[in-house]
Symmetry: C2
Subunit: 310 residues, 2 copies
């Protein structure tokens, strides 16, 4: 779906910025699994992580400290080291002639930065000016579901409640969940350091700052990014983002109102064939998507459960 | 709020039916904590639990097998042994002259059975004909929030997503969650026996049968019971009920549309003073209700978080 000439027709020099983080590790895994055409891979991170050795295609690579020189000759930078790191290095990266695909929230809402979900709005990449942004995790799942439905009937209003795993807060949050769960099981009182509260057998509103409108930042990311990706700046959309004691994979309960009646069977067929989705629903067995279904897998599991007319 | 003559002005003979279950245990605890006026307490259960000894007010009581004779002279039966047990003993209980307060779903939607949340519709008890039903757990939380708001502005539509703890599935489900969590932490594959799937670091649609309309039974209980309690048979209301790996206390993300604008501050003040509720919200600290706030406590914690205009 990308323009044919988007990248030169040769293996690329790729840098992963934030190679030691939870997302960086997943990126390395995917680049190998998908045989991404790479002639040279540079693993970049903060000074703290420099020197770490990461396995790569049967061999290994040493993580380097990020620097101006590290981007020389690079074609593509996959950045996932947080918004401030992305902001700090954007100019250097673009001056080196590299395209930055940024997983942070730094530039997502900038008018000159395409915000892309490949299955939803691949055409947007053509307008990039050196940076393509990747949306927030919860936004990706949602737009994969909204896009095929919105292509058939206009959306009137969307209400989402999320069930977000510890993985979204990084590898340390996952470790903390496991550790504090042990503490609770031992009958002791858990005390969190990574997340603001103990997530062990508990849940809480997403740990991002509250905004003036009383939504948390994660919720407004979801609202604003979805509107941008879908090209629906006025979409009525409210989200409640909750962190739950799941290690990996976010879930969402999504209620969508359409301008016209939308037969459930028609919606189900659309979801069944939509790119990036896997329909998991067995009404007799009460078997619908669970985090353990999708952990370490690519497709987003979806069901048309409770698609009623209320 | 009860009619003054609802009960005789003397300590009552009370039977707890299902005294050995998770809810029965909570009932015994509450009867003691609240110094409920009891002259004789009978603990009744299936043959399997007969003979168990339960602590009671510094002494102890032996659980008896439920029988016709066990209800003789009883004023009040608190039943929480499942719908089939309630159905089986209703006639016997009423013939013995006792009032049955039933926690099962057996009679909730019957026209001659008041379905009561004391803070919401206490007046409904006056119409009882031997049975007063107690709604489903998720319905109680929700109506405590809806009632004070609906008294001020007409409800247009309600969308709820639940985050339900293992406790709702009983003591064995709570034990299973703890045990399977240990299994996952040990790096092994959990295999559930009580709940249909392992809840350890996982979540799934509520484990109740699916209905013809593609909602699960738990969701339709919530919809139908809420409509009955609120006296709004046509209320537009959809629910998605999800079991999460929390031990105790259900949570709900509730989105309410009103017919007219409802200033958030006005709603907040109503929730702050409403019976049965405790407002927990600190926008600066991102501190909102969590299951661990309310475990072993009576009030339902509520926040006006993300009360926007979408």
């Amino acid at each position: 779906m990308l323009p044919i000439s988007f990248f030169p027709d040769r293996p690329l020099t790729v840098a992963v910025l934030g190679a030691s983080g939870a997302v960086g590790q997943e990126l390395l895994q995917l680049l190998q699994e998908r045989s991404f055409p790479i002639c040279e891979l540079r693993l970049l991170a903060s000074a703290r992580s420099a020197g770490h050795v990461e396995p790569w295609n049967g061999s290994s690579l040493v993580v380097q400290e990020v620097s101006e020189a590290a981007f020389e000759g690079v074609d593509l930078v996959l950045a996932s080291a947080g918004g401030s790191v992305s902001r700090q290095w954007r100019q250097v990266i673009n001056s080196a002639g590299a395209l930055m695909i940024d997983n942070s929230s730094a530039f997502r809402m900038d008018a000159d930065v395409p915000l892309v979900v490949p299955e939803v709005n691949p055409e947007a990449v053509a307008e990039h000016q050196g940076v393509i942004a990747n949306p927030n995790c919860t936004t990706i799942l949602l737009t994969l579901v909204l896009a095929p439905l919105a292509a058939r009937r206009a959306l009137r209003r969307v209400v989402v409640s999320t069930y977000q795993s510890a993985s979204g807060a990084g590898a340390r949050a996952m470790e903390e969940l496991k550790q504090l769960t042990q503490v609770v099981l031992a009958g002791e009182t858990p005390c969190s350091e990574v997340l603001p509260h103990s997530l062990a057998f508990n849940l809480f509103l997403h740990n991002s700052p509250l905004m003036a409108n009383s939504y948390c930042e994660e919720e407004m990311k979801m609202v604003n990014e979805t509107r941008k990706i879908m090209g629906l700046p006025d979409l009525r959309f409210t989200a409640t983002c909750v962190r739950v004691p799941v290690l990996r994979a976010h879930s969402e309960a999504v209620n969508i109102e359409f301008d016209e009646p939308f037969p459930v069977e028609e919606a189900r067929q659309l979801l069944k064939v939509a790119a990036g989705l896997e329909l998991i629903e067995d009404f007799e067995q009460n078997r619908f998507p669970m985090p353990t279904d999708v952990t370490d897998r690519d497709p987003v599991a979806v069901a048309s459960h409770s698609a009623g007319h209320q």
